[in-house]
Amino acid sequence: MMDPRISIIPERIKDVKRRIAIVSGKGGVGKTVLASLLALGLSSMGKIVGLLDLDFNGPSCHIVLGIPEDTSIKEEKGIIPPLFNGIRFMSLELFVKERALPLRGDDISNAIIELLAITRWGSLDYLIIDTPPGTSDELLDILRLIDGLETLIVTIPSKLALKTVSRLLNLLKMVNTNIIGIIENMSKGTDMVREFARREGIRYLGSIPYDEKLEEALGDVDALKRTSISESITTILHKIIGLKITR
């Protein structure tokens, strides 16, 4: 029998104008930091924003934004993502609170479907989705379940990262998703990533410097806004907001 939960997902996100997944294939390139700061930046610009953390094995957006783990979940014909600094936030962390959560692929898939089926996002201008590294269940599921998904690729300027990003791009091109472009994080001022983007035929959205003040600022929204990362993100956001998306 068909999975009934999948039927309701389009209804749950029907008032979400843009659905953007932050992806890389590679770990540790800054997906979580950028997903969180992109959401924060959009909210500062007056947009209505949701942030969904789908890195179930290592959820971290709440650490970046300083969202308390003991937040209680409101139920109302589903679950309503709590609001923090103007961001509607949803993460399994709100339920498991630091416990280890060793989920296999089929569990991840099941949990994503359940979460998308019961969460009522309401009207949003942007839903930002943080994803884990790899091209496994999380990515495959949002690609098949979220209509009109856009992907925003994050990388660092390293051969090791670019080889993996290149594999990811092969996949994204196969399934015909909207690739917004690539962000170079922890830039070293070289043109390695810009060149890569040109070769792959994707938009180079800009670079973000390594900011050693980030570590101290983690969990403190005001301090985060003062980092040079937030500054670069504002510039990048103006490009992203300007794009017209056809679904």
């Binding site: 068909m2 939960r5 209804e11 989920l103 359940e114």
Partner: protein, 148 residues
């Protein structure tokens, strides 16, 4: 939303509503796909692990289907016992055997997302969290009887 009876106010508050909505929507999707005129009966299994409030779920199904062409449809609900099998040592056990040891907030987490059981339940024999929920996970449609 004024003047609704009290029981309905409560059922709006719980997330059972969202799951009932998914059932109704799925049945409407299946009707369209298979070109059914009427659906006489939908059999639904509710896995014990998710600890759904069955009365609330049934009331939600009723209220949601009321406004659709499913208002005459019979929704039969059966509970499904939850069973686990350890991938590490092969041991199998039932939810009923360990239910007592689960705290209230843990049960609440599993109620929302049954996979959170992997953060809470461990194999009674070897202690591994690497188990399969063999049956009784959550809500699913078992069968559907309709007329084309």
């Amino acid at each position: 939303m004024l003047n609704l009876p009290f029981v309905i106010e409560i059922l709006r508050m719980v997330h059972e509503w969202a799951l009932a909505e998914s059932i109704v929507r799925a049945v409407l999707d299946i009707m369209r796909e298979r070109k059914l005129k009427t659906v006489l009966e939908v059999k639904i299994a509710i896995g014990q692990l998710q600890q759904i409030e069955i009365d609330i779920f049934r009331d939600a199904l009723k209220e949601i289907s009321e406004g659709t062409i499913l208002k005459e449809t019979k929704f039969s609900i059966e509970e499904e016992e939850a069973e686990f099998k350890c991938r590490n040592c092969g041991y199998t056990w039932k939810f009923s055997e360990i239910k007592e040891s689960i705290k209230e907030d843990e049960a609440e987490a599993i109620h929302f997302i049954p996979e959170l059981a992997h953060a809470i339940i461990r194999c009674p024999r070897c202690g591994s969290p690497d188990f399969i929920v063999v049956r009784g996970r959550g809500v699913r449609i078992v069968s559907l009887r309709g007329i084309t």
